[in-house]
Amino acid sequence: MEQSFLDYYSLEPLTRWIHDALCGVMSEDWAVFLESLVIGVAILLAYAVLAVVLIYMERRVCGAFQCRIGPNRVGGKGGLLQVPADVLKILTKEIIRLKNSDHVLYELAPYLVILASVLSFSCLPWNKGMAVIDLEVGVFFVLAASSIGILGILLAGWSSNSKYTAIGAVRSGAMLVSYELSLGICVLTVVILSGTMSISGIVESQADGWNIFKGHIVTLIAFVVYLISGNAEANRGPFDLAEAEQELTAGYHTEYSGMHFGFFYLAEYLNLFITSGIATTLFLGGWMPLHVAGLDGFNAVMDYIPGIVWFLGKTFFVVFLLMWIRWTYPRLRIDQVLNLEWKYLMPLSLLLMLVMAVLKTCGLVF
């Protein structure tokens, strides 16, 4: 099959040229150090900008589902400056220190949460040649890195020295640990189908068709299970009982103020984006264009759209799906949440993995 379209917008020649140019001026170690510094700053910038975009999107989508307009005063007709104004406000707020709390852990916890989030964020495949962390064990690394966040939540809940935060933290810890199982098993289903754990490998294996079409009905169900457990992992409704306002004020981050609270808020939105981005990578072909067998002209046009547009487009589509779920369903109770995972989702995902393994060994997938 013709695969030259993969290289239209590849960034690899550019990055290689930059690296070689830098190596000509200084030693390779300094070049690598400088590149890492620039990329780190770029990742943090993208992180912050995406958070602003996602918060604005959330407020508009929420408004639409509740039959109201949403933000519409600050910055013209669309309320475009509402979120930047909120960001400035939160940056100037005082960071409160609590008496009788464990200061070290209290101040460490938001950074653990943000660390986990940034680590998994940098694994996303944006375009060909534009993956920051691209390990052979890529998907596994994402799962491992995102599990650090649970610790941040538990420490935040405990060190705030309040009953609301402690209950919120234990609830959300139990939920996150449980839902990681079905999430991981769904990821394994795709790994079996693609035959690799590397993120770029998984994307490239979908050049001849996205996984959601390749794996018959199995990957479709796995996609749905992934979205449900990914939604729970991002601590969002209907699984946002960690911060069930009516019972726990704001759950584990009740006692946080200013930018410390901002970190939790940021990580929540970016975890939503990361969940969607990984869903895109695993099931919807990452930055691969949409191809319909037989329509060659259509396919050629699709190939000229850059990979990053495809990736962002698909990811924001999945983000929209998750927001739709959030603003449609009421919150579950903790026992219902755990029942759903242990009695339905986990057995279902195990079955999916088994069926996928059988299909793959018998050569029944496309």
């Binding site: 170690d29 852990l105 599990s147 610790l151 420490l155 640990v177």
Partner: protein, 170 residues
């Protein structure tokens, strides 16, 4: 002598691990000790990444950081044992601790003197194919590990049975 980037990172990670290991045993609060331990485990994972053992590094992150330390913190949360642990240590235990530390130091120095510090001997991050690791884990040939792998899972089963026995209420 040229100092490479790898050595600088190694130095930083090693320093972080040393500070955190000392903190883990000297701090008076049990949750702080668990957090310091977490950073030591992070450091170990970073060493694996520096060496290119990315699979092992990711396992270290997910099993220790995401699993065992979470279990520690969970059990500390549920038992509420947040009182200060800085109590007087009996003399006998003091000597035992000192002897263990000295023995550990002697072993490390012996190994370093015997084999030398592997300066520059570490290959620049070369990853192993996960398929090779997978086959080594479940293969039955020489240098393949299906027996230890299964033995460990029997151990886990025993742990689970034990937990159920303890948790049952009669």
């Amino acid at each position: 002598m040229e100092i490479t980037l790898q050595q600088v990172i190694f130095g930083i990670v090693a320093l972080m691990m040393m500070v955190c290991s000392v903190l883990a045993v000297t701090t008076g609060k049990i949750l702080r000790a668990a957090t310091a331990l977490l950073f030591v485990l992070f450091g170990t994972a970073l060493f694996y990444f520096i060496l290119g053992y990315t699979y092992l590094g990711a396992v270290q992150l997910s099993v220790y950081a995401g699993g065992i330390v979470v279990l520690y913190v969970f059990s500390i949360l549920l038992t509420r044992s947040d009182k200060n642990m800085n109590e007087r240590i009996p003399r006998g235990r003091w000597f035992a601790a000192l002897a263990t530390t000295l023995a550990g130091l002697a072993l490390t120095v012996f190994l370093l003197l015997g084999h030398g510090f592997a300066l520059g001997g570490i290959p620049v991050m070369q990853e192993l194919d996960p398929a090779v690791i997978g086959e080594a884990l479940i293969g039955m040939g020489k240098y393949q590990f299906v027996l230890p792998f299964e033995a460990v899972s029997v151990l886990l089963l025993a742990c689970m049975v034990g937990a159920i026995l303890i948790a049952r209420k009669h």
